[in-house]
Amino acid sequence: MNMTAPIKATRLRGERVTLAHGGGGKAMRDLIEEIFTDVFQPAGDEDQARLTSDALREAGAQLAFTTDSFVVSPPVFPGGDIGKIAVCGTVNDLAVGGAKPLWLSAAFIIEEGCEFDLLRQVVASMQAEADKAGVRIVTGDTKVVERGAADKVFVTTSGVGVIPADRHLAADQIRPGDVAIVNGVLGDHGATILAARGDMALNTDIISDCQSLNGLMEAVLAVAPNARAARDATRGGVASCLNEMAAAAKVGIVIEETALPLRAEVKGVCEVLGLDPLYLANEGTLVMFVPEDEVDAALAAMRAMPEGCDATVIGRATSGPPARVIMKTLFGGQRLVDTLVGEQLPRIC
């Protein structure tokens, strides 16, 4: 006898979300159950998740709490989708502070007309990434807004983690002489999105670098316990990140243009459009400052992992003019690397 797997019956009608799915009634319940909770499987039926963790109870441990909203367009792009970055982004915001990420919430604002299949894909990505990162999505919310009031789907994730008692990563810990490391090549995500938007009609093989970095952080902190601070270089790129850290620590930072790791294609996109790769967004790249005597250990730990195979030193903190980031150009000259003002617009001129 032929046995075919039963096709899972769907209660959802049609292919797209309608305003009824946001109404609070049966249609909404069907949407939530079928698309979201059947996959995320949060425990319990209450409005709130109820959670315990032994790590939280340790003396001196701190709760870390962060939130982020994701509005990327297009929602699906080479290397990922809005769901994947919604999980990576929040996991990374916790991890760079030295926290072990535990639980995420996920809130969705869905545009009327958004395809169910897109939502299914986004949710599947989120669950897959959550599994990889070892976190659980434990609570959430959905809203539906009229056509035009959102762009397909917007996602907001909040995340909770635990910082062990003996860790104190903070930008103000950075001192002159500390070394700046990145875990990989710069600008892949920004370049991917630019190419994916289609306005510039560029074809490339670049994919987004979006990935969770909590495993990498734990590996590094195990061998470099005196690491000062780490930040993930998302919007505004590595340049904005460095400026924030320099300002918080009141140190100067000098980076070497020749040390910046870049894919040839990302360089190509930047040359064609007249963009500066230092300002391109990343979704799986962090900047970390470690004391000089822990650099080798930190690099070795990063390079042993796929998320850090291209890890390299890009510069160091100095006692130079505080809050200023300076780059030694490949030419032996120097230039200031300021925070991004407005949006980086492709230059033609």
Partner: protein, 102 residues
């Protein structure tokens, strides 16, 4: 509007409209080759051109590029020659004839 970048023509995409695919360091974009079109469009494939706002505007002359680089390298050699000559002069100045004769 000066931003132009060298790219290699890798394929003719629309001969009637004089469009080709250009590759800049692995990034590909369709460009017009109207400004550089030879009688046989396929002759363009493999050539390097200066690409500006979606148009290939000049075929890069490999010989001229080499000449420019040689002139630049020549500066280095000229410098070395000058420095060697200067060192020779300095050496001569330091050893007076009387020492050699004694």
């Amino acid at each position: 509007m000066c931003l132009g970048i060298p790219g290699q023509i890798v394929e003719i995409t629309d001969a009637d409209r004089l469009m080709a695919m250009a590759d800049v360091s692995g990034v590909r974009r369709e460009v017009s080759v109207a400004c550089v079109a030879p009688a046989a469009l396929s002759d363009l494939v493999g050539e390097w051109a200066l690409i500006h706002v979606g148009f290939a505007m000049s075929i890069i002359d490999a010989d001229e590029a080499e000449k420019t680089l040689e002139a630049l390298r020549g500066l280095g050699e000229a410098q070395e020659t000058l420095e060697a000559m200067a060192q020779g002069d300095a050496a001569l100045a330091e050893s007076p004839v009387t020492e050699v004769m004694s």
